[in-house]
Symmetry: C3
């Protein structure tokens, strides 16, 4: 199932539309406006459960019928929500098991959204029932392009029903309490479980002091897995109910990029298409956004995804909600496409008149005017997408570099106390990714279940939790000619967060030819140096953690420059089979990471998309049945010039025919159909 | 009812006296001390409920009889408390409904003060019963000058009884759930209420993530109103019980300046005289204190008020409790009088020996000495007040400038998420007020129920919630010749915090001749510029929010200096009828606000009290049957000289006869009886 | 009972060993390793309750038998834990009264350690029963060198059982509610208790706003005493159960230095030997560590103590867990010995494979290698200790200076609101201690129950709570020739935290000849000056609080340099009998404190151990039956040279024969047997 299976001959364009908050005449205004802006796909019915089901026995679809009929009459399509992300007041009041208990152990009452316990019998009965009713009613209706289950699944529950379900989940996983106690090293602090019903949910009333510190890492890690599974289970109940009525339905939900609580790799097989909501903060570097697109694209092995939400202008929930500067919304939209998006959508069509998102930007502001900067930008992009047509749809983003990104590793390394609470998985992985990105390498994000065979380079950092089999996979990758980088804290613990016998890098030790004697930590602001040698050049600052590497069998490529371990190894390489295994023992600065990643790619013979990428410019390539497309994006406010040896093609946005030197205006975008028109 | 109705022929002077914490001999020491210090009004019986009513069936007034008799014997007067601000231990234990449930949803147990649930049947039975008993017992006793109900009403409760009362309050307000759901835009996130008993109190267990962020602004705003009403209801129960026994009793309670939880405008009609507690922090600018006095005075349309509490030396509850420097207590006392106080009182007469206020400053320190700096300053002020006599009592503070200050606007703008969480209603209003104050303009604080007819200038900022009728009132004011300033985020939402159709400035759009296309936000520290034009001069920094104004029909008086909206309007004026309507789209710095406010006053022909006010000097004028009094206060530690054209009068404190140039010693005060002695 | 009573002829060396977390073969590896490292004392059975007692009726000692047999077979000794610091899951589940309720009022569930309510009938039944079982089983076994009850007692509980026990404790203390209400000044805010069952535990549901702010200081202070007593009671139940089986058992538990919740002075008589866990942060100044050693040594009047835990390399629970630099572990070990330790022990022998301490440093890292920096340092120290033999065992650390350190004073001054929340008892006492320490004075830490007769100087600060009898003790000390310093906020309140009649310095007023008129507070960063006079020289910055001293009968030795109290006294001296009573009214900087403390010692004729101590060098002397030992420790990374007039002796570590000039290498240590070998 790909985005091509959706009934579109151009990139779908649109977003969330909530007519239920408005009087009927406004609907017609809105629909007219969609036409002016080139909008053709609307996410509807996202939060309307109470209206659809005003009590436990009654359904009422009249208004939704009307909404869909209106869309249909204009040739618009719906991304149809199941409306289950906020439970009705009556349900919360009459069936309180549907509500969550929070990390503080407090049972909640009615209010807010994302508030259903995924293990509540009430929720598990009513949510799929509604999804099934909707599917039955709208089966066969062309207006429904795809299905949108619930909304932004997330959070966690700690109620007694979850506790019971967790025990069942653990019993299925471990079989015996001996196995469980071993996995958790429960002898530590006498946390041993002697009967299944003694198992508690890990929160502030039990083993956790805060959300990020726990007495029993194994328990906490299992609950993270369990809760991700439980929410996936809730998704699947609804998806199954839809599929039972419409076997070929395209079903998804909106993900949130690197969202810590949910292991999206485990979710991805159950989604027909990946869709996600992108809300960069005003000063997020472009690489941080690109990483998220690449991560989402990689979830389904490169299949194009939907940019399901972005704001046309500003958010309302960040501390300070600056406007996107002129051109930035367009630039970020094309950035998504450059990384594999086949749909561009907004939250939201019209600012709500009340409640907490009334200051969230929209295509249509409260004033209802279209002679405005934002509406003009939205309509201009709509025109560009219409002009582009279907030529890029389905095109892939080939990458020969992969960066490791795994939820259990993320959870585990941040669950651990020590060596430094400044450890931030996402920051370290982003820094590593950004080093490739800045030099024009295309990057996938891989995990323990990924096929590494196509890559020249696989780089990791904080691969702390090394899943069973991963060492074998990585070793095979290297022996087959790949170049692998093990970064900081690699191979420390197994799937249960038990440290490997013999210490880090655990099962990677033979491959890397080094072991870690100790790990120093310094406070933010205190640095050491990475001094390159052995053919590499430069001295770079490094910070955070400083592994003392002991070499069994490897070349030393860099040493520390300071402190009592000055001169000892910090970067090593071991040639294995046809490939190479590198180990890096610290967190270098951006320049240092660029030097290391360039050296990795050189070693693997992996080339960047352009030989030299100016600062602030991004490059990607998509390839599909429609051709090859080089995307060049200028994230700066000044003009940039890029050399692309051998390029000849046409910019599909401007129509310019381009050669080897491409000029990018400030915040400019080129989508160059290579070979076309030249 | 004014302060003149109190039985005083000079300004009352005194404060809180808690003899119940001391052995009998100390009482006599204290009373002697009152004589030495010129003290004549004592707030007594503030916290003595358990002593007065040791169990549910017993009252015991013997000690209070003795206290009042002692005061009476010395010709002193009592401000008689009802003692209900801290519930007895026995009541908390035997009738737990009297206790509050907090914002976290935790039911509290005995302890602390301000701990009664205003909707508790127990509290609503016992508190007025005690007030009635006191009134019956002391009716007709001259020693009781006025009645002081409870103490510093405040806080909030979230218990089941409040929840039930809230539903009743909502039913009375809205009649139908359809009306309520519309007001709250409850269709958003499917928050729709289908039965009255589904309504929840807004706290962390329901719709709020923190005290300052909520999913449903309409619900939260209604609860703020409801809780302010509920506490007012508790006040009124006691006041009614007293009034039933003593029809002409003077009844009040001590307010706390701009105290966010209570809408004092709604309270004011039920208080016979406004009394408030002033506790400036050591480095509060004088304008911040003056605003509070002016706000309190404005609550009852300019009627003089009581400074009910201030510390003679230091507080104990601020992070760092610096001593008031020599002369500062006197200066702040006269500052209160300058702004309309007709009584000067302290907390407290004697430092308590134990519990949490034992480090709070007092007229009498723990050492019990009177040969001290603080006691000498207290006694010297007592002598000044005695010498002043009754000449200023009842005098008004005429003002031709008004600054808008409304509790619902405060609540609503800070309930909203976005555009910036750096939004602080009190800070913005204080900055606007300070600009007038620094230039010697007398200012009232007005709200939606105020009569604007007497003012030349009415200025507002963050008039986000524009109450029904306010636009008409303001328009009439302008048409009648007034000059009105609409500041940042004006006219955004209605009384239910629903955004006005057509967007901001909502019903003010016709008057102002502008509309707001977008609102940019920048983090603290990032500025833009206000570039004056059209007769105004200067360029000033501005920060926080930046409205993009679109002009229908107005003159542009200033434009932005930077960013993509450089050159677009930020300050506009429209001439309407005999007056002018100005709109300001950002938060200028202090110099910028002084320029804008000066221009407003010039436009309206409003003159400052003196043509040029030296930095750190404050000026006010009071006028009454005793004459006209010009107050000049020097808040600096250096001498200051002020030109007052045409002045001839006598300084009532020093006896100096003064002409057009007045010299103020460091921290000096002049109370100039204009025309007198010249 | 002293450390000499333990069966060792050299300093015991070892630490925590947790074989229960490992397979049997690892035990043998470990035991071999102990031999290599010179380790001979192992703390075992610290957390094994569930294993020892898998249900309420069953005990199983097989594994512990095996562990002890293994130790025995190698001639190693055990410090035998009772395993009661973490309750079994089955106990928490079946007997929930065993669990604590926290300061937020939340009843906890199973998980974590230090989680038993000390007033739980379940805990008070099962914990001593287990201790008794262990004692019966291992009585008479030489392998058990001493007993280790529970682990790091601490925390607090606020459950209904504690509330009931607290009422009983109060009734025993006060007899009548009148006495209790008087002690608490409960008339304040009408907190009066009329029946015993109205008394509440002081937490966030009752009188406390935060852990450090309360409405009723007397109540909070009593609860602090009660909870310290309750935990001591729990310790004593176990100790008594052991003693019942083994009358001459050496019993202790591991203390935590200046641990605020527990009044270790009250605990000390019940411990046979003081043992404590030292975990300095990377940048703690050496004086802060020395204070803790001296405090621990002083608990039992100078009896040598055990360093029960320190990390060989790094901790895991600090924000950033830097490695101890080479030589630092050795230096800190000898620092402990220099201050009176007769045992050096580590946490832990081997890093655990999972759960929250897996990143805590150990003698044996995860890699299990001994060819490492850390293991080599551990083994080298083991060799030094073995070479040293028994010569220093039992030696005392004579001191003629004492600094006051009292838990109730600590609690009370930090319970109080005002004058400044920057008040930090430990910081102020440490600064005072450090001034003596930097100049080479030996210091004891004394409290209200200490015998002052041997000291030349007794210095205090924040002696806010002055216990009954302390003024008499101090006065006798001064009259007998001692020099006493009363620092900031001395003699403010009595044992119930009621301010003394007449104000501070209360009962010390006659002795000091001054009284305190007011106390100013300034924010951190704002200073005043101490200007010395009357024979003393220098001007020093001072901060925090500034008492206005009024002199009845004393010499002024220094005055303030700034502000409105410039020129008024800040340091005074009164000659009384054969001694002197000094009063200091502020917190001087380090140089100022050095000047004041030097002047105190000069006045008392107390000499430092060396005339001039280089920066970063520490000196102590121990004296015993084995001789006199001068310890010189260089805490810097550079060489230092110290003059010791008259010194002739042998460095027991290097064998160097030393004269009057001693050279210390970077981080170097000298243990000089005075007179030996010269």
């Amino acid at each position: 199932m790909t985005i091509r299976s959706l009934p579109f001959t151009k990139m779908p364009y649109g977003g969330d539309w909530n007519p239920e908050q408005w009087e009927r005449p406004v609907w017609d205004e809105d629909v007219a406006l969609f036409g002016h802006a080139g909008i053709d796909l609307l996410s509807v019915n996202i939060f309307a459960w109470t209206a659809l089901q005003p009590d436990k026995d009654t359904y009422d679809f009249a208004r939704l019928d009307e909404i869909l009929a209106l869309l249909e009459s204009r040739g618009l399509r719906a991304c149809l929500g199941t409306s289950t992300a906020a439970i009705p007041a009556w349900m919360a009041t009459r069936f309180p098991d549907v509500l969550r208990t929070d990390f503080q152990g407090r049972a909640h009452k009615f209010g807010d959204r994302h508030n259903a316990c995924p293990n509540s019998p009430t929720y598990r009965r009513f949510a799929p029932a509604l999804a099934g009713q909707l599917a039955r009613r709208y089966a066969g209706r062309d207006v429904v392009a795809l299905w949108h289950v619930s909304n932004e699944f997330g959070g966690a529950c700690y109620c007694p029903r979850c506790e019971a379900a967790f025990r069942t989940w653990l019993r299925a996983k471990y079989g015996t309490l001996d196995a469980l106690n071993h996995a958790w090293n429960a002898a530590f602090w006498s946390q041993t479980i002697t009967e299944w019903d003694e198992i508690v949910v890990p929160n502030v009333l039990t083993v956790q002091w805060t959300e990020r510190s726990t007495a029993v890492q194994g328990l906490t890690l299992d609950y993270q897995r369990f809760m991700s599974d439980a929410l996936l289970g809730a998704y699947r109940l609804e998806a199954d109910a839809i599929r039972a009525e419409i076997p070929d339905a395209v079903i998804t939900t909106n993900l949130m990029g690197p969202y810590r609580p949910l292991d999206y790799r485990a979710w991805a097989p159950h989604l027909d298409v990946i869709a996600w909501d992108s809300y960069p903060a005003p000063h997020d570097p472009p690489a941080a956004v690109s990483l998220k697109h690449d991560l989402m694209r990689s979830l389904k092995a490169g299949q194009p995804f939907m940019l399901m939400e972005q704001t046309p202008s500003q958010t309302n929930w960040q501390p300070v909600n600056s406007l996107k500067r002129p051109g930035v919304m367009r630039l970020q939209s094309w950035q998504a496409v450059a990384h594999g998006a086949d749909a561009v959508m907004f939250f939201q069509m019209r600012r709500s008149v009340g409640a907490c998102e009334k200051f969230h930007g929209a295509v249509m502001e409260h004033h209802g005017r279209t002679d405005t900067r934002v509406f003009r930008e939205v309509a201009a992009l709509g025109a560009e997408l219409r002009a582009l047509g279907d030529v890029t749809l389905g095109a892939r983003v080939p990458a020969r570099v992969a960066v490791w990104f795994d939820w259990p590793a993320w959870w585990a390394v941040e669950n651990s106390m020590g060596p430094s609470n400044a450890l931030d998985y996402l920051r370290e992985v982003t820094a590593l990714y950004a080093a490739f990105h800045a030099q024009g390498y295309a990057v996938d994000l891989v995990g323990s279940d990924s096929d590494l065979s196509g890559y020249g380079v696989v780089a990791s950092t904080l691969l702390y939790l090394l899943p069973a089999g991963a060492a074998e996979t990585i070793t095979a990758f290297v022996e087959g000619g790949g170049t692998f980088l093990a970064g900081l804290l690699s191979g420390v613990a197994d799937d249960s967060d038990r440290v490997f016998p013999g210490g880090p890098p655990g099962p990677l030790r033979d491959l890397l030819g080094v072991w870690v004697e100790e790990v120093d930590a310094l406070p933010p602001g205190q640095d050491n140096e990475v001094v390159m040698q052995g053919g590499l050049e430069g001295t770079f600052a490094c910070s955070l953690l400083f592994e003392q590497l002991r070499v069994d069998d490897a070349e030393v490529l860099a040493t520390y420059g300071q402190d009592f371990y000055a001169g000892s190894p910090v970067l090593t390489r071991r040639r294995v089979g046809k490939g190479q295994a590198w180990k890096l023992g610290t967190s270098p600065d951006a320049a240092g990471l660029r030097a290391v990643t360039r050296a990795l790619c050189d070693a693997a013979g992996v080339l960047p998309l352009v030989p030299e990428l100016p600062d602030g410019v991004e490059v990607t390539r998509r390839e599909g049945t429609g051709g090859r497309f080089l995307f060049l994006l200028n994230h700066t406010a000044e003009e940039r010039r890029v050399s692309v040896p051998g390029l000849a093609g046409t910019d599909l946005l401007s129509g310019d025919v381009l050669g080897e030197t491409v000029t990018l205006p400030p915040r400019g975008v080129r989508v160059i159909h290579e070979g076309a028109g030249a």
